[in-house]
Symmetry: C2
Subunit: 391 residues, 2 copies
């Protein structure tokens, strides 16, 4: 069998920072397909099973081994993973991943949907844990969390989108974690254009632990703190002096959608409705006419309660009374949000940022017969669409 | 400014075939961040504009240039793209991409959802066109198609899933195109496990051109044929002797869901409901009890008509009468489908394939006041779930 003749070499730039300065380097990739080894899948699989004949294993053992072979979750910290196109940054504790915006992650105007952005936040967070060597078999849970039947649940999410990435654009997602109170964890993200280095979006979130069986919040056990605290750093993507208080809407809200129920595809690996799906329900309650001409620039969500697969859900929203911004300073309830980097950094090349902002308050609640229970309270802030996204 | 000291080298295997034999090679990646150049985003952008002062450009020109810089759609054929982790195979005409299964692409049992699989088919197809240098600004349309206001629409899709990939698994998606009649194109896919080389799924599809303004099917203009026909090869992922005829259901169908309407997030870059969304509607009409215990193994869809954003849609489905399979030979209407590779290749390590199959017939139609119009006819085939996916 002749050796094949295919070899190709390419390189692409990679950014990183050190001592507060930003540098960019280069990743060299050589694709060199010169081996002539043929593939023997079954041997490869069975050969990887420790001390057991492939025929003698029980179905149970076979499946556990098979899943491990297929997933290849690292048991030790990894510095780089070519499949995920990622590397560890920030002196060994942060995570950076290159992401190409896919065709189904954008809407009709080729810009990334908010849901896709939140999905990519989730994905990079989990890949961060994956690379840490701490990931057990659960949905981002560490080995210590698994031993204690604990899962992560998000309690708060704050997202700012200065510019929406477009189809085919290459992005850098950075994420890192820090302490949040005694029993929680903060996770931040920063999304940049790979081509220009300009910041497109930033986010911060807070996470607590829940007992998977009791469905109750839990303290962070010492063994879990010992696992994750070495990864904590102080650096934050969004600085908030005083977190904004979100008022609770009631039945007098201007827009109400009472006809929501989780679908099969809304359930995640923790077997409950994924928090990203809530955002879809929230936004779909805003009138189409507003959504057609506006773009979300910021969002704060406070998660109060899980939504189960059998819950019926009601989405309420209420637009703020008209607000006027003067000189880029927002005279609204959202004053604690930092200004968009486009204004701050003066690099308004992506089109002039509109100075008129609109705000909405949101509530998702279960629609029980006797009483309604809060799932999420939210605040969104909107700007007029750029001309780029309306062509 | 001191040069930084980060350098790392990894490699991963890559498969390809030549003269009908399968080989596997190796991709070497070196991450070498040694440059100390600082980033000047604005200069970088303005420097890339040809012959125009950044301040003198009109808003219109600025945006076109900006989108080009951000997307970087190649104008010449590329053999490899590190961001997409892909390369051109099959003597220069096929496309292969490595894909890591993301956390939000799987359902509660960690297996990839059918919708995610179809999304990845779309994504790799578009990336194939991207790499060809033929992609214009549209949704997979070539330059010649854009000049003739033509878009691609799918007329038929046939998918077989032998094994469902799981979260974190690395997959190889191969796709290639061929002629389909005088005015159409066939596109095939093959999905393999990167770790074992075992085939997980295969698909074939047929595409025709539609005039974007008239919303009518069009002949393939010569200039478009000249663009794409050099990419055509005969190789097929699924061999069908006689395509199965799908009967049209009527109001006597056992399960009917009349309450469907497209959502904002269902619209794609062609501003109509993406064909992948139809599948969700089809499957959600099947009873939960059946979906809980079965896994889709095959699907044939015939697309008849576009679904617009204002259409109301009705989904009908009808289970086959009980069928019994003997010795892996299916005694059903689905006899034209090839047997799953797990049986054919004898590598049943992923769990024994159930020999009892169930079939469903599907219909999606618009729910007009006067008459109903067909959107899609479909056939699905199901097997009992593996124990791997029910843990």
């Amino acid at each position: 069998m002749a050796a094949a003749a295919f070899s190709c070499s390419v390189s692409f730039p990679f950014r990183y920072s050190r001592n507060g300065n930003r540098y960019h380097g280069r990743v060299d990739i050589k694709i060199n397909a010169s081996s002539s080894t043929r593939l023997h899948p079954l041997n490869e699989i069975t050969g990887a099973r420790e001390g057991s004949s492939p025929l003698a294993t029980t179905t149970e053992n076979l499946h556990v081994t098979e899943e491990q072979i297929r997933q290849r979750i690292p048991t030790k910290k990894q510095l780089v993973d070519p499949y995920r196109q990622c590397l560890i940054i920030e002196r060994g504790v942060g995570y950076r991943q290159m992401v190409v915006v896919r065709s189904y992650e954008v809407g009709p105007y080729k810009t990334v949907t908010l849901e896709s952005l939140l999905n990519l936040f989730q994905e990079t967070a989990l890949s961060h844990v994956w690379m840490s060597g701490l990931l057990s078999n659960g949905f981002g849970a560490t080995h210590g969390m698994m031993r204690n039947s604990l899962i992560w649940v998000v309690s708060r999410m704050h997202v700012q989108v200065d510019h929406y990435p477009i189809w085919g654009e290459v992005l850098e997602f950075d994420t890192l974690v820090g302490a949040s109170g005694k029993n929680g964890m903060r996770r931040d993200w920063l999304v940049r254009s790979q081509a220009t280095g300009i910041t497109y979006a930033r986010a911060t979130s807070n996470w607590v632990m829940m007992n998977e069986k009791m469905r109750r919040l839990s303290k962070m056990p010492d063994e879990v703190r010992d696992e994750i605290s070495p990864w904590f750093i102080e650096k934050q993507a969004i600085t908030e002096d005083v977190p904004e208080k979100i008022v609770k809407l009631d039945d007098s809200a201007k827009y109400i959608n009472s006809d929501l129920k989780p679908r099969r595809s809304d359930l995640d690996m923790n077997h409950h409705v994924n928090n990203v799906k809530y955002v879809r329900w929230m936004l779909e309650t805003i009138p189409d006419k507003f959504l057609d001409s506006h773009q979300l620039s910021g969002m704060v969500l406070e998660y109060r309660r899980e939504c189960g697969s059998s819950d019926r859900v009601e989405s309420l929203c209420q637009p703020d009374e008209d607000e006027i911004l003067t000189n880029g300073v927002e005279q609204s309830l959202l004053k604690n949000m930092v200004l968009t980097s486009g204004i701050v950094e003066g690099n308004g090349y992506l089109g002039p940022l509109e100075t008129t902002m609109h705000g909405y308050t949101h509530l998702l609640q279960t629609k029980g017969k006797t009483r309604k229970e809060e799932i999420v309270r939210g605040r969104t802030r909107w700007r007029k669409k750029y001309s780029l996204t309306s062509t």
